[in-house]
């Protein structure tokens, strides 16, 4: 379906607000069939909007299909970066995104994760907008200007 660019952009914005709103409210990132049903549009239209959002680095699609891998900072699948907040569980794709979930929600939270090397459990707590408990060291393996070359690895 060919639509005027403005209409595509307007719908992409609607999809963005729906996806991120659902992720924040429920801890689950909705996928194309649910988004289409919720917004009363076809799945093809939703997938087109998601590709547009992914091209704009607003979210990340899973390789080889139209599903959302991460409406970053919210990861669509369980990960080793678990965030407990508002009585719900969220997942980030990395420690930056786990912290980012807390920042986006603007709430107190506990992050349960593990050392990237030895897998020993690690815990961070945020309360009142401040990091109240932390341990360890954050490591970026990829230099900043290559972050989006392979965002999964980054």
């Amino acid at each position: 379906m060919n639509q005027p660019l403005g209409a595509v952009d307007a719908f992409a914005r609607e999809v963005r607000l729906h996806v991120f709103g659902k992720a924040a409210d429920t801890g689950r990132v909705p996928q194309p069939p649910e988004i289409a049903a919720a917004l009363g549009r076809s799945q093809a239209e939703v997938e087109q909007a998601l590709r547009r959002l992914a091209a704009g680095k607003v979210l990340i699609l899973a390789p080889n299909d139209g599903n959302i891998w991460a409406a970053n900072p919210f990861c669509a699948v369980p990960s080793p970066f678990r965030v407990e907040a508002r009585g719900k569980t969220y997942w980030g794709i990395c420690i930056w995104d786990a912290l980012g979930i807390v920042a986006a929600l603007g709430t107190d939270a506990v992050i349960r994760t593990a050392c990237g090397d030895c897998s020993e459990p690690m815990l961070l707590k945020i309360a009142g907008g401040k990091l109240k408990r932390s341990e360890g060291i954050v490591h970026f393996a990829v230099p900043a200007h290559h972050w989006w070359d392979n965002i999964g690895f980054t």
């Binding site: 995104d97 090397d117 060291i137 490591h139 393996a141």
Partner: protein, 72 residues
């Protein structure tokens, strides 16, 4: 990006994977970076940071030097 218990855990992780060691942050720097990057993401008026805004954020967290250069 991952979190490790200690410096030697980072070294071992890099050696095991034959990956060059990158850059490290304290969890406090990580929180400041994540907060600046994502605090507005749920807002309807959200937009991506400009390159200049991202550079300012990195610098405000103390992340400067070639590793943190966002330009090609």
């Amino acid at each position: 990006m991952l979190i490790f218990r200690a410096e030697e855990h980072i070294d071992r992780w890099c050696e095991t994977r034959n990956i060059k060691r990158g850059a490290t942050l304290t969890p406090q720097q990580g929180w400041q970076l994540a907060h600046g990057w994502y605090k507005d993401k749920l807002k309807p008026e959200w937009r991506r940071h400009t390159l200049e805004e991202a550079e300012t954020l990195l610098a405000s967290v103390g992340l400067t030097g070639p590793f943190w250069n966002l330009r090609d």
